[in-house]
């Protein structure tokens, strides 16, 4: 039975500490893969603000992690996602997978971050020197999520 460990974090996210907590936890695992997303500097950007939908977001994170754990036979799936206001360089999201072999861990991390872009109820707002605006969805993010959904649907068929 995989360990599913997800959280929405309103304060600082520490990717190094999250990764260190996974190391050596399962002797049967040969690979731990992770991804950290952070606020990218853009002209005029002061901070990003992440809004989410309490009561639903946590369940969405669990569903993504559980699907990854089942599909890639992970021993652990971890998702940490920030909410609130974050200046440039701040970690927004941390995803990790621990598995017996590297390919499963790497693919599970790709799946989880791609699904987080489109299937968890978060919305980004950019605060700039001239005001603020909501960030629009990216078509390539939708395509990436659809790719995984098609893969999993065809395997389940």
């Amino acid at each position: 039975m995989a360990r599913i460990d997800t959280a929405i974090i309103e304060t600082d996210l520490d990717p190094a500490a999250e990764l260190a907590a996974l190391a050596g936890r399962h002797d049967s695992d040969g690979g731990i893969a992770s991804f950290t997303g952070q606020v990218r500097a853009e002209p005029g950007l002061l901070a990003l603000e992440l809004e989410h939908y309490p009561g639903v977001t946590g369940k969405a994170l669990d569903t993504i992690a559980q699907t990854a754990a089942r599909r890639w036979k992970l021993s652990t799936a971890v998702i940490r996602h920030r909410a609130g206001r974050m200046p440039v360089g701040t970690p927004i999201v941390f995803v990790a997978a621990s598995a017996p072999h590297r390919r499963e861990a790497l693919d599970a991390v790709s799946y989880m971050i791609d699904m987080l872009k489109t299937e968890a109820p978060f919305w980004k707002r950019a605060h700039t020197q001239t005001g603020s605006n909501w960030i629009e969805a990216v078509a390539d993010d939708r395509k990436a999520a659809d790719f995984w959904m098609d893969q999993i649907a065809s395997e389940d068929a």
Partner: protein
């Protein structure tokens, strides 16, 4: 039928409000009918009909159209932009 409607993120700004609490007339059985009802009185509700808008019914992300029941909370959400 009493219902709570939430407008989330960019849709909240564009609707000019976070929430409506309405007593719907009979015959509005799903979210598509609800959108049609809202559009009849408010032009800004046109954007709720856009195919990219996601729905949260009570505490679940659901496909459109979603059936409606007494006391439901229905949230209209722009496409998610997390990660």
């Amino acid at each position: 039928m009493p219902i709570t409607i939430r407008y989330v993120a960019a849709l909240r700004d564009r609707m000019g409000r976070a929430e409506d609490v309405l007593d719907l007339p009979p015959g509005i059985a799903d979210s598509d009918a609800l959108v049609a009802h809202l559009r009849a009185s408010r032009p800004e509700a046109d954007m709720l009909a856009h195919p990219s808008v996601r729905l949260i019914r009570n505490e679940d992300i659901v496909p459109r159209p979603a059936p409606l029941a007494d006391g439901d909370t229905i949230a209209f959400c722009p496409p998610f932009t997390g990660g």
